[in-house]
């Protein structure tokens, strides 16, 4: 065993891959799981108990769209009863006032609402469905409750110039937190990458504007900005380190160290139907694979930052360097960094119209998106 496992702190429960939205950057895998293979209410409820017993504090209910599960109220109730703090990461669709009331009544702790833009036209184009107005309605309903609220704006080249309007939605809805989460390039986003990557100019403005927003909103709303990995100097500590903090359970019960892990060839995942969560955490092959430092290559192996970023993201290394054990190619020290620079150069030097004009990217013709479908 390469390293003694600490206990997991967070459980990401991908309750379903079904979703009324078709976002062009969806982080779900290209091969979506069908409804017929989803875990039952009972199986999920056992997972919540096992998670709490293994030391998990928080459960993030996500998908697909977690509200697409007809048993969502019961699942939240059971996760709370197991002792977990429950976040619902949702598009707000399908939801009505009565359903929201029921979610709050059974003890939902935190409601995270995703936004695809601030303008209806952009948001609907990105999500491939008419969804924006419903989100604004949900924001009004939720004001009745004393519940944690996070707004999550997913940011990319097509909507980054709507920042001011996004901040106006924040001002109006007083969330405890707002996240401006740049798209990262896996799954559907990887397929649409050239249409989504922002320009450096857009990004610089965004950083500067959000710094001001942070001051303006201090004490009211926490502002979190997630930079696109490709523009970072050093990689993110992906999932807080492989097999260190987080477990993700897919709709059919496979236990993953990270949502994108199935793209790594040869990794075998165990299923919660066959083994307990604690056993899977402690000694399954997939969780052991990149735990600790033994797997690292240079420059990670002798790098001072290896305990901060754990070598970055294994799945990004797979996608960009073709080797899951390589240094995350977004790292400025990585031998594969020139590949990332070439991708950025293409975005920044071509097609983008008048220099100095922030809005130029949006004046392009509508892209031919590869939309994420809804699984059977």
């Amino acid at each position: 065993m390469p390293n003694a496992a600490q206990h997991p702190l967070a459980l990401v429960a991908e309750l379903t891959h079904r979703c009324p939205l078709h976002c062009v950057y969806c982080s779900n895998p290209l091969e979506l799981q069908s409804r017929a293979n989803e875990l039952s209410t009972e199986a999920w409820s056992r997972v919540f108990k096992e998670a709490a017993e293994a030391g998990v504090l928080q459960a993030d209910f996500t998908g697909g769209e977690p509200l697409a599960r007809p048993d969502i109220v019961e699942l939240i109730r059971n996760a709370r009863a197991a002792g977990l703090y429950v976040s619902l990461i949702t598009s707000g669709i399908p939801l009505d006032e009565a359903k929201l009331e029921a979610l709050v009544q059974v003890g939902l702790d935190h409601f995270q609402l995703s936004f695809q833009g601030a303008r209806e036209e952009t948001a609907n184009d990105i999500s491939g469905t008419k969804s924006h107005q419903q989100k604004l309605r949900v924001l009004q309903w939720i004001k009745r409750y004393r519940i944690g609220l996070t707004l999550n704006f997913v940011i990319h080249r097509r909507n980054i110039d709507e920042l001011e309007e996004m901040l106006a939605i924040v001002e109006d809805s007083h969330p405890g937190c707002v996240e401006f989460a740049s798209v990262q390039y896996y799954g559907w986003a990887f397929a649409n990458r050239e249409k989504l990557l922002p320009t450096r100019q857009q990004l610089d403005y965004c950083v500067e504007r959000l710094k001001r927003a942070e001051e303006e909103l201090q004490g009211k709303t926490r502002v979190v900005f997630v930079v696109p990995d490709y523009y970072a100097r050093f990689p993110k500590p992906c999932v807080g380190g492989w097999g260190r903090k987080l477990m993700l359970i897919t709709p059919n019960g496979d236990a993953l160290p990270c949502h994108a892990a199935p793209i790594i060839p040869g990794l075998k995942f165990e299923n919660v139907k066959n083994r307990s969560l604690r056993e899977i955490w402690e000694d399954s092959e997939a969780f052991q694979k990149f735990r600790g430092e033994d797997w690292m290559q240079e420059p990670c192996k002798s790098c001072d930052r290896r305990e901060q970023d754990f070598g970055g993201c294994r799945c990004q290394a797979m996608l960009l360097a073709g080797d899951a054990a390589a240094t995350d190619p977004v790292c400025s020290l990585a031998p594969q960094r020139p590949k990332v620079d070439a991708i950025l150069a293409q975005i920044n030097e071509s097609q983008l119209g008048v220099p100095g004009e922030r809005g130029s990217a949006n004046q392009l013709a509508k892209p031919e998106w590869l939309y994420r479908p809804n699984p059977a």
């Binding site: 702190l9 709490a52 030391g55 998990v56 504090l57 928080q58 002792g83 703090y85 976040s87 702790d109 935190h110 995270q112 004393r146 519940i147 944690g148 609220l149 996070t150 405890g176 937190c177 201090q218 004490g219 009211k220 709303t221 926490r222």
Partner: protein
């Protein structure tokens, strides 16, 4: 931020106390804080009833060996941190 001594802090929406393996924690959206000793004493008094001065007074008694001014500064610093994390609301 200046903490008003007469205000009464309480846990913000989405924040609550929890426990796992005998460790008390403050659970917040996306994160959690371990609570031990003084931090637990402070947070468990953030109930919307205790004013900041009352919390200071009670902890000065509880930690009577510590210098009272130091206790006050530590509490104000910790409340300020929790406020920045959006873990507290201050009722007038």
């Amino acid at each position: 931020m200046n903490v008003d001594l007469n205000s009464r802090p309480r846990l913000a929406a989405g924040c609550r106390m929890g426990e796992n393996n005998n460790q008390r924690v403050l659970l917040m959206p996306e994160r959690a804080l371990r609570l031990n000793g003084p931090s637990l004493e402070i947070v468990s008094r953030c109930d919307g009833k205790h004013s900041v001065s009352q919390i200071i007074g009670e902890l000065q008694l509880l930690y009577s060996k510590a210098e009272p001014h130091k206790v006050e500064q530590d509490i104000l610093g910790y409340l300020d941190l929790l406020q920045k994390e959006r873990a507290l609301d201050f009722e007038p």
